[in-house]
Symmetry: C2
Subunit: 247 residues, 2 copies
Amino acid sequence: MTYCLAMMMDAGLVFAADSRTNAGMDSVSTFRKLHVFETPGERLLVVLSAGNLAITQAVMAMLSEGAPDDRDAKTLLTVETVYDAARLTGDALRRLHDRDSKYFSAHDIGFNASFIVGGQIKGGRMRLFQVYAAGNFIEATPETAYFQIGETKYGKPIIERVLTPKLDLLSAAKCALVSLDSTIRSNVSVAPPIDLLVYKRDSLAVSTRQWVKDDDPYFNAVRGKWGAGLRTLFDTLPQPQWAVEVE
Amino acid sequence: MTYCLAMMMDAGLVFAADSRTNAGMDSVSTFRKLHVFETPGERLLVVLSAGNLAITQAVMAMLSEGAPDDRDAKTLLTVETVYDAARLTGDALRRLHDRDSKYFSAHDIGFNASFIVGGQIKGGRMRLFQVYAAGNFIEATPETAYFQIGETKYGKPIIERVLTPKLDLLSAAKCALVSLDSTIRSNVSVAPPIDLLVYKRDSLAVSTRQWVKDDDPYFNAVRGKWGAGLRTLFDTLPQPQWAVEVE
């Protein structure tokens, strides 16, 4: 399993992903799921990937090097808009599906992969997309300005409560860490290090990228205070006044 | 969808369930999912049900009236132990599966149902079981002293943080309401009223049963303070010190 998250605010974008990959319980390893395509001053595109690792790696190869047998194929360093980046990702998925799905079916393996694609290219606006396994995609809007892929449920409530278009980038990064922490606590197939990237609108370059390990002092301060704070908050909620005999 | 929850503490048991049932998006109704079998001073058994309503109602009928074509069949008012109550529930599921599953298959309907069974019978100890669709079951222990069925993920983190064997019954009921609220906020197929029952160990009777509607003043106080408190707690977490240029 995997948990990836991207949030769009007026100030910019925040991307985060865990790094655990497993094929069964006894084959657990660490892979990056956050992929950066950057030409500083000209473009910054980020792709988050979830699903079958053979599929996502094949798609990332096409996005980096162009589709095979097509010397003129676009890559994420040459597409002209973020919309085209999402379309290229969907096209790569469809090309792979055409080529591989019959072998997957023969082995009873589902064609399981999804992506989040976001960023900004000079002359265009900042955009964020989610690309489904079928190659179709949707775009984030101010009303729903985030996407999650993989194990999405545990980490959703904090985003719903905190994310607004006005949220500053560092608070959004903090929100991403809390969301990842909630998921990591609940699902053993999601684990640190956390790959985290902050993009400031119109900067056309990475603002910061952090590889947050399990012993990261800031991450541990956040999760320690969050856990203790939740417990304290729970204790301060009013008790019910129902007539229950309590010795 | 459904969300049901039961917790076992030294002091007793707390059961809670939402009440929304839906067959497709345009057929939404209210059904109780918390079923009580009580002979005050002799037994208190509670069954929580999730899954296909036709299956769960048929199982509940067998638990109330005995299996058809068997005049001597046990019911939850005559079984001798809580363990036997769990076994009777599993047996009812298997009997139903034997009778109905070929018709379900013919209509591509999955045999989807699960139950939580708990309580106490005079002379025995308080116990809590989860019964799967296959009729097999597991028992709660002090290390993992709760069960959830239905839409379980959103409401799990607060239980993991709060539940201990020493938790008092009213705090556990409060925890159940927070857990239900988190789920209701995130999944439209889970909705109030919330059916909530508190059982005090060795009392062999219902301590309190509450039918918590959407406009319940206590429920609204809890969810209002919880939401505001989470937001305040988030704001008080330390900000990251990464070098991100923030105008």
